[in-house]
């Protein structure tokens, strides 16, 4: 740990008493949380230094979520790298191209749900290198930004040291010309605030500029301008009478106005060109992503389909798997949290579809995070889908509804149906994996079967702690 220069990024974490500063700091420094907390409290007694330090970090350090959001940048970008890993699977003729990650193994981030990139993953991935994350698209500005951030802090530290030195000197009786120093410092500070933006706007031009960034930039520009103008005014007015100052001010405002008037159209055109170019570049990136995706998965699947044209079953399965993947890529809301209950049910349905080649259509209404007991619901649904796919005819309909308290799953097929009484005792499928499992976890399972089809109805109350059985 000590030899590795790589530390987790300094972010405020979610396990917290106040703002998550201490736990974030502890993770960053590799110290136990409690040590840091006690240290912070002790430091607070030293003239409130701990409190000031805490407040400082609270303001300056982003939360893990914010940090992830910042690193993730545009939501679309993580797709391309995720998808480009696909050929590993798609190239294997034994496997359907788009299917592998959807199988719910959990080991690989599925190409599509990676778009949402859970905050936790992104935080971990965004640490120092993040070579295959979104950072890869724009590495130099990112690193420059990091340098810049430390640079800012160093600058601030130097400034504070200077102020402290001047104060000390004054205390020691040295005559410091504050009358000129303060305005000069104001001018310097204002100018540096304004100039610091230059680098950041260039970075923002490459990523895309959000509204928040823009307003922050304007505020900084205004602050810098105000500081410079005030500093210059004080400096100038110190050397002459007020009347002269006013005259000079008026003249300079007039000159500035004239210059603005002349340069405005030119500036506007320049700005518009810049905007157009930026939009063009974003479009280009998007197009490249789509092209990469089409190439990596769709063309691969089409090639596979041509090779296996003789086998109808395989062709249908390949086409279906590709359709599912493409749909997920095109229509899934990237802002949505992944790993919700509906995602799990859909993943299970995809798995069953791949296994048996029968279409499983999932419709979901409402959603919830997967809680402990839901695992039983998912597994029972899987079992019911397998049965429906195996014995039913035509597509299997799956309907998931989550409303407030309850999660319900309905699995319907149009097979010949069966009578539960006729199922032999030793057949574990229905009795054990569906009904028994649901009951053990406090849920309900009901099977309605007629000669026109079978419907399995599974119900599960929400907020149900589950401790009796782990994953089957």
């Amino acid at each position: 740990m000590t030899t590795a220069p790589v530390r987790p990024p300094l972010v405020r974490r979610s396990d917290r008493f106040i703002a998550g500063v201490c736990s974030g700091l502890a993770a960053h420094l590799g110290l136990p949380v409690n040590t840091v907390r006690v240290g912070m409290v002790l430091a607070s007694f030293a003239g409130g230094a701990g409190v000031v330090f805490y407040a400082w970090l609270w303001i300056m350090v982003p939360t893990a979520y914010e940090s992830a959001r910042r690193q993730a940048g545009r939501p679309a970008s993580p797709i391309a790298p995720a998808v480009s890993r696909e050929p590993v699977h798609a190239g294997n003729p034994g496997l359907p191209a788009g299917s592998p990650p959807a199988a719910g193994s959990g080991a690989v981030v599925p190409g599509v749900s990676g778009a949402g990139m859970g905050a936790a993953d992104a935080a971990a991935g965004s640490s120092v290198g993040a070579p295959d994350g979104p950072a890869a698209a724009v590495p130099p500005p990112l690193f420059r930004f990091r340098d810049m951030r430390y640079g800012k802090e160093i600058l601030l530290g130097v400034g504070l040291l200077l102020v402290a030195g001047i104060l000390c000197a004054q205390l020691l009786g040295v005559d410091v010309p504050l009358g000129t120093l303060i305005p000069a410092a104001a001018v310097l500070g204002g100018a540096s605030i304004a100039w610091m933006q230059l680098d950041e706007t260039r970075r923002a031009g490459l990523v895309d500029m959000t509204k928040a960034n823009q307003t922050g930039g304007w505020a900084r520009l205004a602050a810098g301008l105000a500081l410079v103008v005030a500093g210059v005014l004080v400096m100038v007015s110190g050397s002459g009478s007020w009347e002269q100052t006013w005259l000079a001010l008026l003249a300079s405002v007039a000159v500035l106005g004239g210059v603005v008037l002349v340069l405005l159209p030119w500036g506007l055109r320049f700005w518009r060109d810049l905007e157009a170019e930026r939009a063009g570049r974003i479009r280009e990136t998007e197009r490249a992503e789509i092209a990469a995706h089409l190439h990596d998965s769709v063309l691969q699947t089409l090639a596979l389909i041509q090779r296996r044209a003789a086998n109808e079953h395989d062709v249908v399965r390949l086409a279906r798997a590709q359709e599912r993947e493409l749909r997920g890529w095109l229509f899934e809301d990237p802002g949505k949290d992944s790993g919700q209950l509906s995602d799990r049910i859909k993943a299970v349905a995809a798995e069953v579809e791949d296994l048996l080649g029968n279409v499983v259509e999932v419709v979901s209404v409402g959603d919830t995070a997967v809680m402990e007991g839901h695992e039983a619901l998912i597994q029972a649904s899987r079992e019911a889908m397998l049965n429906a796919s195996r014995h039913g005819a035509g597509p299997v309909s799956v309907y998931l509804e989550v409303s407030g308290e309850r999660a319900e799953v309905f699995i319907k097929d149009r097979g010949p149906g069966f009578d539960l009484q006729d199922v032999p005792e030793d057949r574990m499928g229905v009795r054990e994996s569906i009904i028994g499992r649901m009951k053990r976890h406090g849920g309900t399972a009901k099977i309605i079967s007629s000669n026109e089809g079978t419907e399995v109805r599974l119900g599960f109350p929400a907020a149900q702690a589950d401790s009796t059985e782990g994953r089957p």
Binding site: R327, D333, E361, V363, P395, E401, S403, K412
Partner: protein, 229 residues
């Protein structure tokens, strides 16, 4: 399947043939659809773009237009634009939207423009024939997915008396939508709820009307979340 038996010639009251125009920009899909449709359905015209579609519909005045949601031409509005361009015929010509898209925005936009139903392109020939007859007879056709969207948009809690009646589904309408989302055919819904098929159709049409007319804030919010507006 059961769908075809329950609907079809019986409900449409069709001693006459149903006249249909196919609108889709893929010739392969049009010819496939033509072959899949029941012989009792008469295809009187085809179109591949928004302009062609509006012209063919105005000339032929069909009973039903099978309309792809995504179409080239026009102002880029696709199927929605075709319906808007044929607004004067909406009383006699019914639109049934067909799409490969699962995006909520496509589905809801075309329904709100005036389509009487929405089915996906993977649907079988018998099912699509049944849907054509249903729409020709003035009913609405809801696929399980559309029912799911409706439930998602309107919420699954039944209406209060205080609510504007357009803003929520009644308890019965909710039940019908839920069953359709679960993959039930109209006939099966009727059997499950001990009501007639005609009543099921009435409920579905009522939901369609609400979907088209409601301006409730939750629908707007729901749509905005999915970048519809």
């Amino acid at each position: 399947m059961n769908l075809a038996q329950s609907g079809g010639i019986g409900t449409g009251g069709a001693t006459r043939q149903v006249r249909v125009v196919l609108v889709d920009d893929h010739a392969i899909f049009r010819s496939g659809l033509r072959a899949d449709l029941d012989p009792s359905v008469q295809v009187v015209g085809e179109a591949a773009t928004v302009e062609q579609a509006i012209a063919v519909i105005a000339r032929e005045r069909p009973d039903v237009v099978l309309l792809d949601v995504h179409l080239p031409g026009g102002l880029g509005g696709g199927g929605r634009e075709v319906i808007a361009g044929s607004a004067s015929l909406l009383s006699s010509t019914r639109f049934l939207a067909l799409s490969v898209s699962d995006a909520a925005e496509d589905v809801v936009a075309v329904i709100r423009a005036g389509a009487r139903g929405y089915v996906t392109k993977t649907i079988s020939g018998a099912e699509i024939t049944d849907a054509v007859y249903r729409v020709a007879g003035g009913d609405a056709v809801f696929s399980p997915r559309l029912a799911g969207f409706v439930l998602d948009a309107f919420g699954t809690a039944p209406a209060d008396i205080a609510d504007d009646e357009l803003d929520r589904l009644s308890a019965r309408e909710l039940e019908v939508m839920r069953l359709i989302a679960r993959g039930y055919s109209y006939k099966e819904v009727a059997k499950e709820l001990f009501i007639s098929i005609k009543t099921v159709e009435t409920h579905v049409s009522a939901v369609l009307r609400k979907l088209q007319l409601s301006s409730r804030h939750e629908l707007t919010k729901w749509a905005a979340e999915r970048r519809l507006l």
